[in-house]
């Protein structure tokens, strides 16, 4: 530990991992002789944390290595996002990525609280949402957000798109209903048990007990059942039948029958059954919703980080960060190197754009002066000025967005397995109940109130309970297990559709490949030279320079590096940049290259390519092993596509596919009765994604592709996709088992109920036991998620 020895005593970081030579701030492994930090950003962050006296953070942090590396610079201006409050203070809401442990929350809150003008800083660990309130002007937003960024967290403005505004309110209404139902069912049970065991009870006492149960049960059924009644009412108006309708009818019929039994002082009332049914179903629904909300939030987090502001050029030549929505046609924007175009436009000069997101081409394209530049492309050259040709809502992205909304409607017709069961179940059970009522009333000749009891008992023991909880329970277990593996399931029916997919269509750029340039390993390059070049490259945001840094992350940052826009980097006699910049006359070939030269020595050429993901072949083979036919559909040139197809063994491939070609291919597969699974990341894939039976996009994909997808893979690996299909198929099997089990239960329970043998006690036992068995079976969905 020569490094530590060279430091003053007080500076030795208190992190246990230091003995393994990791960065004292973010925990990335360090190369020998690299000091105690991996980059200047981390060094600054560490000094900041120590300066605030918050170093307890390093003893408690549980973040993965490398997640807390501060970004090179924060380009977004947060001032427009600050909202003035009524009491004259300002408030800013941020989405904070990297906020993964309690210590992170503590660090962020304490660091902000140390600012003299900050009144409140509160971070939510589950929502990754930070609320800051301060006294002063809006411009402080930039400093405060910058402070969080300097600690190593990625910040983005919290946009309404992150979560629907009604989402929180809906969730709270559901939890409130659960609380009321749980209270009601427990207290009704208190009274009911007394009636069940008290066979020697005086009729007057029993009557009082019935009224007590009614007193608690009626308001409970009215309040806690609301979520079901609403959903059932919506279904009726749409002319459909769903499980909530069965639940609503069962609960309401049971309540009315119990009321009639209370009035005529019958043997038993059934308020306990109605209320505990509601409590159980609501508990399932709260869990289901919580799990899916977690997945949606993670998707929203990915999207928010992609959003941001554009640099609008003002009349006086300066630039100001403004939200992309506020830019109008004719405005001039400054597009930085490596920035993604958010609007359509034209440039006064020739520019180099990476259009892989819009067309799928993996090689950057030279756009001539005045050529239309599509939104979604990435600037691979130096910064340039772009004249906007269409505002955000009229641009090509918005048009595509509207197209996607129409396609979404088509997918809404998918009928989930639970609804299929409900369509069968609802009419059958209600006919049985009606027949029972008529049989006892007219056939046997008992009073109509007495005839109501076996009829409604038949309704309630058929257990919409086991049936209604059968599918959600499986979903909660499966979605939760996938979430931990980095697979975000955003749509409620995605798992079922994933399980039935039989044909996989994959995109190449960004899906099978990394979607960004990576250094091609070259044995002939001296590692020491690579380190020197990477150290210089740290000074630039150019995508190729960044790729060079990624190839050699341990290279230290150098001072005195000057960037000549559009050409390269200079440090004394060292040059790193385009071949022409380094004085190479002979073209080193097509593709993406950087040349590093030391005066008087032969220049070194670094070649870059969009590499295949390490596990692409394995993932394709796993898909084939699962019985899916695979094919490659790419907008890239034939050579690159063929090479990728051969390397992965994917089978049929098609190059130069336009977005319309991709959509047509999916449509023709559907017309053939296949269930295509589409995997893609680009804007050019979005139409095909939304038409597919089920769609998946990698976490690095464009926001449009992610919005069109049912499943987002947050994990870097592609092999989680076959894993997700395996889990989905298993979940589907378990859901079918659960439904079959619930139906089998009814074969025994219904005749007993129809014949009038079922008491509320038996109904409660039947209901609880079937639910428990269904839930235990569902828990198996999350098991054996290895890989």
């Amino acid at each position: 530990m020569t490094v530590a020895a060279g430091l003053p005593e007080g500076l030795a970081p208190g992190q246990a991992g230091f003995s393994r030579a990791t960065c004292a701030h973010c925990g990335t492994a360090l190369a020998p002789g690299q000091g105690e930090f991996c980059c200047t950003g981390c060094s600054g962050a560490h000094a900041l944390v120590r300066g605030l006296g918050l170093d307890a953070f390093y003893r408690r942090q549980e973040t993965a290595a490398g997640t807390l590396r501060p970004p090179e610079s924060v380009s977004t201006d947060f001032a427009p996002h600050a909202v003035p409050q009524r009491d004259g203070t300002m408030q800013l809401e941020l989405m904070v990525s990297g906020l993964t442990c309690g210590a992170c929350v503590w660090l962020v809150e304490q660091a902000l609280a140390a600012e003299p003008d900050v009144l409140k800083a509160r971070a939510s660990l589950s929502a990754r949402r930070l609320t800051i309130a301060w006294r002063g002007d809006a411009a402080r937003a930039r400093d405060l957000a910058g402070l969080v960024a300097r600690l190593g967290f990625k910040v983005a403005p919290w946009s309404p798109a992150c979560l629907r505004a009604t989402e929180d309110a809906e969730g709270r209404a559901l939890i409130r209903a659960l609380g009321v139902a749980a209270f009601g069912s427990m207290n009704v049970m208190l009274v009911s048990v007394a009636v069940w065991v008290g066979s020697d009870m005086e009729p007057a006492t029993r009557h009082m007990m019935h009224w007590l149960a009614a007193l608690i049960g009626l308001p409970t059924v009215l309040v806690a059942g609301m979520p079901f009644y609403r959903s059932a009412w919506d279904a009726i108006r749409a002319g459909r039948v769903n499980m909530d309708l069965a639940v609503s009818i069962g609960v309401i019929a049971t309540t009315l029958m119990s009321l009639s039994e209370t009035l005529r002082n019958g043997d038993y009332t059934w308020f306990d059954g109605a209320t505990s049914l509601l409590a159980l179903l609501l508990a399932g629904r709260v869990l289901d919703r919580g799990m899916r909300r977690k997945a949606r939030q993670a998707v929203a987090e990915l999207l928010a980080l992609q959003e941001g502001t554009v640099a609008l050029r003002l009349a006086d030549g300066t630039t100001r960060g403004v939200p992309a929505e506020s830019v109008r046609a004719g405005d001039v924007l400054l597009v930085a190197a490596g920035e993604r175009l958010r609007l359509d436009g034209t440039a006064e000069e020739a520019v180099t754009l990476d259009t892989s997101a819009t067309t799928g081409e993996s090689l950057p394209r030279e756009m001539a002066q005045g050529e239309a530049l599509p939104a979604g492309a990435v600037n691979m050259g130096p910064a340039f000025l772009m004249t906007v040709t269409a505002a955000a809502r009229d641009g090509s992205l918005a048009q595509l967005g509207r197209l996607l909304e129409r396609a979404e409607g088509a997918r809404g017709r998918f009928v989930s397995i639970a609804d299929k069961a409900a369509r069968l179940y609802v009419p059958v059970v209600h006919v049985i109940a009606l027949a029972t009522f008529l049989g006892w009333w007219l056939g046997v000749g008992v009073a109509w109130q007495a005839a109501l009891v076996p009829a409604v008992a038949a309704l309630i023991v058929t257990c919409p309970c086991g049936l209604a909880i059968a599918v959600p329970a499986v979903q909660v277990a499966a979605v939760g297990a996938l979430f931990r593996k980095g697979v975000l399931v955003a749509s409620p029916t995605a798992l079922e559709r994933l399980a039935t997919a039989d044909h996989a269509v994959l995109d190449k750029t960004g899906t099978l490949t990394e979607g960004r340039p990576e250094l091609i390993e070259d044995e002939t390059i001296d590692p020491e030279l690579l380190r020197e070049a990477a150290a210089m490259a740290r000074a630039s945001r150019h995508p190729l320079a960044q790729a060079l840094v990624r190839a050699c992350p341990e290279a230290p940052a150098l001072s005195g590096v000057r960037e000549i826009p559009g050409k390269g980097l200079v440090r004394g006699s060292l040059r790193l940049g385009s071949p022409a910049f380094c004085g190479m006359c002979d073209d080193p070939g097509s593709g993406m290259v950087l040349v590093y030269c030391v005066a008087g020595e032969a220049p070194v050429v670094f070649r870059f390519a969009d590499r295949l993901r390490g596990d692409a072949g394995e993932a394709v083979q796993a898909l084939q092993a699962l019985g899916l036919e695979t094919e490659l559909l790419s907008g890239d040139g034939a050579g690159a596509v063929e090479a990728a197809a051969a390397a992965t063994g994917i089978g049929p491939w098609q190059a130069r596919a336009t977005p319309a070609d991709k959509a047509h291919r999916i449509e023709s597969l559907r017309a053939d009765g296949r269930h295509p699974l589409m995997v893609g990341d680009g804007i050019n894939d979005a139409a095909a994604l939304s038409l597919a039976h089920v769609s998946v996009s990698p976490g690095s994909g464009t926001d449009l592709a992610q919005a069109a997808s049912d499943v987002v893979l947050r994990a870097e690996r592609l092999t989680v996709l076959p894993l997700a299909i395996r889990v989905a198929r298993r979940a589907q099997r378990l859901a079918q088992q659960n439904i079959a089990f619930s139906l089998a239960y009814n074969v025994v329970a219904v005749p007993l109920a129809v014949l009038g043998f079922v008491t509320p006690l038996i109904a409660a036992v039947v209901m609880a036991s079937s639910s428990i068995i269904v839930i235990l079976n569902a828990l198996r969905a999350g098991k054996e998620v290895g890989a």
Binding site: W106, A114, A123, S124, S126, I175, F183, E202
Partner: protein, 53 residues
């Protein structure tokens, strides 16, 4: 059955008290960030600003 006159109302009042408390926790947004609340309890929340002043 005199006991019922006291016990049943007592049970109900206690139950309602629990329900009211639950609704209060819900209203004060204590269920919004369950993960955060779990680790927040371990922080030493030094009121830093007052200290520095």
């Amino acid at each position: 059955m005199n006991a019922l006159v006291f016990l049943v109302p007592a049970a109900l009042v206690l139950g309602l008290l629990g329900l009211a408390l639950f609704l209060w926790t819900l209203k004060s947004r204590q269920y919004d960030d369950l993960d955060g609340a779990a680790s927040r309890i371990l922080f030493d929340d030094i009121p830093r600003k007052d200290q520095s002043r």
